[in-house]
Each structure stands twice: as C-alpha cells, then as structure tokens.
Symmetry: C2
DNA sequence: ACCTGAACACCGTTCAAGT
DNA sequence: ACCTGAACACCGTTCAAGT
C-alpha cells in the first residue's frame, strides 16, 4: 500500500531520472549515501535497470561529474560580459565559491579521480569548458593591460586553483561559514595583486 | 597452504598495524579499495577484530586523516629555519605539492568531510598544527617587511588554499605531470606578488 | 530495446561466546 | 581486555528470461 505512481514498462527517460535523483541524493547524503539499488528503488524500477544506462557505479559518478562541470560552466554565463576587469574577477570568484557551497559533494566528485588524456578525455574536455570563461577573463585583462603577460592558460589555472583550494577549505569546515566572506575577499585581493603587471 | 606468520592470541598493536596497512592500501588502491574485512584478512585477524580499535569504518578513515595532517606538519619540519623569505616560501610550497603527489588519496581523505568545531575538534586541531609553519612564515615575512600587513591567519590560509587547489588539479590529472613544475612556479610567483606590501 | 528476478560474491556492523 | 564466528541487512554486478 504505497502511493508509487504506476509505471509503464518503458520508462520515460530512466537515464536522466537516475542522474537527477542521484544529484539530489548526493546533495542530501553525500557520496556515501549513494547506492544504485536505492536509486532504483526510489524510481520504482528493478535494481538491475540502471545497468542499461550506466555500465557500473563509477560510470554514474562520472556522468554526475560531467553534469557538475557543465553546471559550473553555465554559472559563469551569468557573469555579465561588461564591467571592469576587477568587477568580473570578483563575479567569477564569487560564482565559483557559491557553486562550491551549494554543491560540496558534487565538487568533490568532480576532482575525485585521476583523469588521463585517454581514459578521461570527456572529463578533461568538460573541465576545459568549465574553465573557458575564467581563462578568457585573464586574456582580456592582459589585453587591457591589467594582467601580467604570459600564457593565459597557465596563469588562469593557477588563479582558479586558489579558488578551488578555498572551496575545499570551506567544504571541509576548516574555513567556517562566518569567515567565508573574509577569506574570499582575501583570496581575491591576493589574486588581484598577484596578477598585476610587474613593475 | 600459505606462509602467514603465526599469530599469538594477543596481537602486538593491532590498531597501529591497521592504520599502517590501511595507508598502504590507500596509496595502492585508493579509498574505494579500502575494506575493513580485507584489512583484517591482510593482518590475519578476524573481520570483527578492527571494531575493537575503530568504532566503524569512518573512525578508521578519520584516524588516517589525522595521520596525514601530522605527516604534513612533519614535512615542514624539514624546511630549514634559515634562508630568505622567498626561499622558505618556495620550500613550503614544494613540500605541500610533494606531499600531494606522494599521497593523493590521503590528501583527498583529509579534506573529504565536513568537520564542525564540536564533532571534528580533533581534526580541526590537526589541520591547525599542519598549517602552523606556513602561517608562521607569513608572520615572519611581515616582520621582515616582505609581506603585506594583516591577520597572518587570514592571509596564510588564503595562500595555502592556492597550493591546495593546485594539488587538487594535479591529483585529478587536470594539470598533467609534465606541467606540474610550471604550474607550481606560476602559483609561487602569483603568491609572491600577491603577498607583497602594497604601494 | 528495455527491464525483471534470481544468483553470486562481497561488504559493514553487531553480539554472544570464547581465552 | 581482546578476539572469534555466526548472523543480519545491505551492496554492485551479471545473466538468463521475459515483453
């Protein structure tokens, strides 16, 4: 006696529903709370059904990571293409931190595994897309004479790493919620001066 | 027919052996390859024996994380207390990256969980110890007039975050092995200029 | 093509019982 | 105090069989 909605033999789009539900579970219970069998139960489908869409559990986790990178890439889309370099740097940094705070388990998952150029090609491409906007911002800052010259990829990745590290510290609780603003400001300040053209 | 060394009823120091073996397994096979039952088998002990020393699997993982933080704190000990600020900054940064490259799964474990001031008191204390040397370095740089004024804790954490983020990128393969040196140099450069007293 | 149901090997955790 | 052995509930994965 339960109010499970009846399901036809053909599921609407089991793959998409699995991903969606998995992301919700990830947010609520972390990676450890994620089980293929429970996921199947939640969707009213047999425990073997997910294997039609994901070879194994790792494949589901990888797909989730891809979703994460694409969502991260999308967040930057909201960063207005106008404004000073400093304003846009602030906006990008805040977007990254907001994403990290809203999706701590997902962010951890995104960088949890070693991706090689061969086996993790898709993943590396997704990382590339997620970092396109910040790196373009570096190039733009250089064009405006506000950022030191050099390979924008190399400079950009090091700068994003500062945000990623801060995200990790916040996610682990080492930087407490009440100190996040001050920490973010400090990181942005260090980046601002660290990226300036040298005299 | 196996060459398992005979074991007396009383184990020498099962807790220490479990930790040691777990760290080795972590290095070889990652967190996913870590099983309490397999660990017990490796040590020739019943699968229920570990529970006398670690309440549950998470307790073992937490203990491993503590080991990690203490090892990290120890690495800095090898950073000579002499030399210019710049030399010591380089040494600390390299120590952090070396640790990350040698212990990728352990480093991930160290920041995998949310530690609150109440439940994760021990862990937060361990993080504090691991970051004592880098933060003292910031204070020393300030005393020498080579680092911008301000709370050394706030400044130091943001600076360490840049290293932690780089470590994450290296560990995930997004920064490939051949680019680690260039990336580390770039991060150190950005830190050097980002930490300088402002004009 | 897509899903089910049973089967298999493996977990983590608990607990009475042994020494 | 420390460990064992059995038991329990839960996994992930595979595969013949169903529609």
């Amino acid at each position: 006696m339960s109010f499970v909605r009846s399901r036809s033999y053909h599921h609407g789009d089991l793959r998409a529903e699995l991903l969606q539900r998995a992301e919700a579970t990830l947010r609520d219970s972390g990676v450890d709370g994620l089980s293929l069998r429970q996921l199947a139960r939640d969707l009213g489908v047999s425990h073997a059904a997910p294997s039609r869409h994901f070879r194994d559990k790792q494949a589901l986790l990888d797909a989730l990571a891809l979703v994460g990178f694409d969502r991260l890439a999308g967040l930057y889309g909201e960063v207005e293409a106008t404004g000073s370099f400093s304003e846009r740097l602030h906006a990008v940094a805040r977007s990254y931190l907001d994403f990290a705070i809203d999706n701590p388990a997902l962010l951890a998952l995104m960088f949890a595994r070693k991706h090689s150029p061969t086996s993790g090609e898709e993943m590396l491409a997704a990382v590339g897309r997620a970092f396109t906007v910040p790196i373009a911002l570096i190039a733009e800052g250089q064009a405006r004479g506000e950022v030191v010259t050099g390979d924008p990829m190399r400079i950009g990745i090091a700068a994003i790493a500062a945000l990623q590290g801060l995200a990790t510290f916040v996610g682990s609780g080492f930087v407490e919620a009440e100190n996040v603003e001050a920490a973010l400001t400090e990181t942005i300040t260090q980046l601002t001066y660290g990226l300036r053209p040298r005299d």
